[in-house]
C-alpha cells in the first residue's frame, strides 16, 4: 500500500497559545498593591512577572533627612501589621550605636509589646489564609481579638495602627494599671478564641486538601532566596533571630521555635499558629518575671524630659529644645541590628557620620527579599493557589516597597 502516506492525516503544527492575565495592582484578593502579569496555559500558571513599587515612599532617602527620633514614625509604616516591632527594632539600633545600657524592665516591657505585635501579625495572616480558602468565619472572629490588642497599644502609646511606641531609651511612660488590666484580659480571652480558630481549620479536611502541597518551597531554595521568619521555618530551617542573636533579653525566656517540613501553605499556617501560642507563653513569662525599675534609660540627649522639668530646669529645657528641633549630634559609627519581625529578619543598617541625621539607613525588609521567589513558587499551580500562596507568605505592601 504505497498510497498510505498520502492518506495519513497531516500533523498541523500549531503555536502554543498562552493567555496573559493582569492580577492587580489593585485586586481585592491580593490584599495590597501588587501587580503580577501571569502567563497562563488554561488555568495553570506558566510564568509570573511581579511589578512592585506602587507605594514606594522613599523611606531610606527620607531617613537621611530626619533626626533619629523622627525616623520611628517612618518605621511604623513598613510592616503596619506589627509596627511596634519595627519601632522597637529601630530604637534598639540607635541604642546599639550609642552604646546605651537599657534597664531590664524596659527590655521585658518591650518583649511583651513585641510579642503582642507578633500575635496580631500572625493572626491577621492566618485569618486571611482562612478567607482565601473560603472560611470567612475565623477572620471575623479573630479580628475582634486584634481589636483588643490595639486597645492595649492605645493604652500604652495612644495610637493603634501606626504606633510610634516607645522612645530611644525606653518608654515615654510606664504601663498604666489599665494597660495591665487589658493585657491580662487579653491573655485570658485570647487562648480560648485561638483554640477555637485552630480547631476550625487545623484538621479540617477541606482546608487541608486545599493547603497541603500548595505553594511549597524546599529548604535549599528558601535559603538561596534568603527567606527568613515563618516562611523559612515552614520549609524546615530553624532560624529565628530571637534565638540566634537574642536581643532585648529574649535569652531569659523559654520558647520553642516551630518548624515545618514542606514549606507549603499549611505548614506556614501551622508554624504561625504555634508561634502565637509561644508568644502568649513568652508574654506570661515576662509578666511573671517582670523586674522593678525605671521605664527608661538615662539618655537625656534622646529621651524627652518630663514637661514639668522643662519649665523648671535648665538642662531639661536645653535637651527638650535640641530633641524637638532635631539638633542632637550622634557619634560616628556603623551598626547592623536585626530583630525577628512578623515576617522575618528585620534589619536596620545604620551609618552615622557624626551628624544629626543618619548618613545612610538601609532597611532589610524581609518581604522584599522573599517576595522575589513568588514566581518560582506559583509556577505550575492554579490561579486560586497563587492567591493563597501570596496571602500565606504574608507579603505586606508597606514593607515590600518601603
Amino acid at each position: 500500500m504505497e498510497a498510505s502516506a498520502d492518506i495519513a492525516p497531516k500533523v498541523v503544527k500549531e503555536e502554543k497559545q498562552y493567555s496573559y492575565l493582569n492580577l492587580g495592582p489593585t485586586h481585592p484578593a491580593t490584599h495590597g498593591i501588587f501587580q503580577n502579569v501571569l502567563k497562563m496555559d488554561g488555568e495553570v500558571i506558566v510564568d509570573a512577572t511581579p511589578t512592585i513599587g506602587y507605594i514606594h515612599r522613599a523611606f531610606e532617602k527620607l531617613a537621611e533627612h530626619r533626626p533619629y527620633n523622627q525616623i520611628t514614625p517612618i518605621t511604623d509604616r513598613m510592616n503596619y501589621c506589627s509596627s511596634p516591632i519595627n519601632n522597637i527594632g529601630w530604637h534598639m539600633t540607635v541604642e546599639t550605636l550609642l552604646g546605651v545600657e537599657i534597664p531590664k524592665r524596659v527590655q521585658y516591657l518591650r518583649v511583651i509589646i513585641m510579642e503582642l505585635a507578633r500575635i496580631t501579625d500572625h493572626l491577621v495572616c492566618n485569618a486571611v489564609i482562612g478567607v482565601d480558602t473560603g472560611a470567612l468565619t475565623g477572620f471575623v472572629y479573630l479580628f475582634q481579638q486584634r481589636e483588643l490588642v490595639y486597645e492595649i497599644y492605645e493604652e500604652i502609646c495612644g495610637a493603634r495602627l501606626t504606633t510610634n511606641v516607645g522612645r530611644i531609651g525606653g518608654f515615654e511612660r510606664d504601663f498604666s494599671p489599665k494597660a495591665w488590666e487589658k493585657i491580662n484580659k487579653f491573655l485570658k480571652e485570647f487562648p480560648i478564641v485561638l483554640k477555637e480558630f485552630e480547631d476550625l481549620l487545623k484538621r479540617n479536611r477541606i482546608f487541608m486538601d486545599r493547603t497541603i502541597g500548595c505553594g511549597g518551597i524546599t529548604a535549599e531554595r528558601a535559603l538561596n532566596y534568603s527567606f527568613s521568619g515563618v516562611n523559612l521555618r515552614a520549609a524546615g530551617v530553624d532560624y529565628d533571630v530571637r534565638a540566634m542573636n537574642p536581643y532585648s533579653s529574649y535569652e531569659d525566656f523559654d520558647f520553642i521555635i516551630p518548624v515545618g517540613t514542606n514549606g507549603d501553605v499549611y505548614d506556614r499556617f501551622m508554624v504561625r499558629q504555634e508561634e502565637m501560642w509561644q508568644s502568649l507563653s513568652i508574654i506570661k513569662q515576662a509578666i511573671k518575671k517582670l523586674p522593678e525599675g525605671p521605664f527608661h534609660a538615662k539618655v537625656p540627649e534622646f529621651y524627652l524630659p518630663p514637661k514639668q522639668e522643662v519649665y523648671n530646669n535648665m538642662e531639661a529645657l536645653i535637651y527638650h529644645f535640641k530633641i524637638v528641633m532635631g539638633e542632637t549630634e550622634v557619634p560616628k559609627g556603623e551598626v547592623y541590628h536585626c530583630v525577628e519581625g512578623g515576617n522575618g529578619e528585620l534589619g536596620f543598617y545604620l551609618i552615622s557620620d557624626g551628624g544629626r541625621q543618619p548618613f545612610r539607613l538601609h532597611l532589610r525588609r524581609p518581604c522584599f527579599i522573599y517576595y522575589q521567589a513568588y514566581p518560582e513558587m506559583i509556577k505550575g499551580s492554579m490561579l486560586s493557589d497563587a492567591i493563597l500562596t501570596m496571602s500565606s507568605m504574608n507579603v505586606i505592601a508597606g514593607e515590600l516597597d518601603a
Binding site: 513599587g53 532617602k61 538561596n224 532560624y239 551598626v335 547592623y336 534589619g347 543598617y349 551609618i351 527579599i369
Partner: protein, 167 residues
C-alpha cells in the same frame, strides 16, 4: 559576633585562593568586616559559600552606600552561616562615575532584587544580571535618587503647579 580565632580562620580561607584581595579586616562595632578589592568579589563570595570551613550560605542583605567625598559607591554584602551563627560583612568600593560589579545572582537567587534595588537607587550596574531594570521607581526616571547629590524636594518651592494634588 565572631571570635578572634574564627576571624583568623576566615581570613586564611580567603587567602588560600585569593591572596592579596583583602584590603582591610577588623571589627566594626560587633560585626566582622572585610574590605576587599572589587574585581573578584563574586568569586570570593562563591568561595566562602562552597568552602567546607566557611559555608556562608545565607545572604542577609546587600546594598549600596554613596560616599560623595571620595566619589565612591560602596557595595556591602552581609553573609551569614546559619549553622555556626557567624556573620561577616564584605565591602567593596566602586568609582561613582562607573559603578560596575559582576552579578551575585549566580550564587544567590536572592541577589536578584537586591541588585536591582542598588541599580535603581545608586546606578550600580551588575554585569550578567538576568533582568537589570528599575524596581521601586518608575522606569523612565533619569536619575539615581539615593545618591547624595539629590536633595529631598524643597517643601517651600512655589514653581510647581500641583493644585490637583492639594499642595
Amino acid at each position: 559576633m565572631m571570635e578572634a580565632a574564627a576571624q583568623e580562620k576566615l581570613i586564611s580561607v580567603i587567602k588560600e585562593k585569593f591572596e592579596g584581595e583583602i584590603i582591610e579586616a577588623g571589627m566594626v562595632k560587633d560585626f566582622f568586616t572585610l574590605i576587599l578589592k572589587k574585581e573578584k568579589i563574586v568569586d570570593i563570595v562563591r568561595h566562602l559559600y562552597n568552602h567546607p570551613e566557611a559555608k556562608f550560605q545565607y545572604l542577609t542583605t546587600m546594598f549600596a552606600v554613596h560616599y560623595p567625598d571620595q566619589n565612591q559607591i560602596a557595595m556591602v554584602y552581609q553573609l551569614h552561616n546559619l549553622a555556626t551563627n557567624q556573620r561577616v560583612r564584605l565591602k567593596i568600593f566602586l568609582p561613582a562615575d562607573n559603578p560596575t560589579t559582576p552579578t551575585l545572582t549566580t550564587v544567590f537567587s536572592a541577589a536578584n532584587w537586591m541588585e536591582r534595588e542598588a541599580f535603581d537607587f545608586f546606578g550600580v550596574i551588575s554585569e550578567g544580571h538576568p533582568n537589570l531594570k528599575r524596581i521601586l521607581n518608575v522606569e523612565d526616571m533619569l536619575i539615581f535618587p539615593m545618591r547624595k547629590e539629590y536633595p529631598l524636594e524643597d517643601q517651600t518651592r512655589e514653581d510647581k503647579n500641583d493644585l490637583m494634588f492639594g499642595r
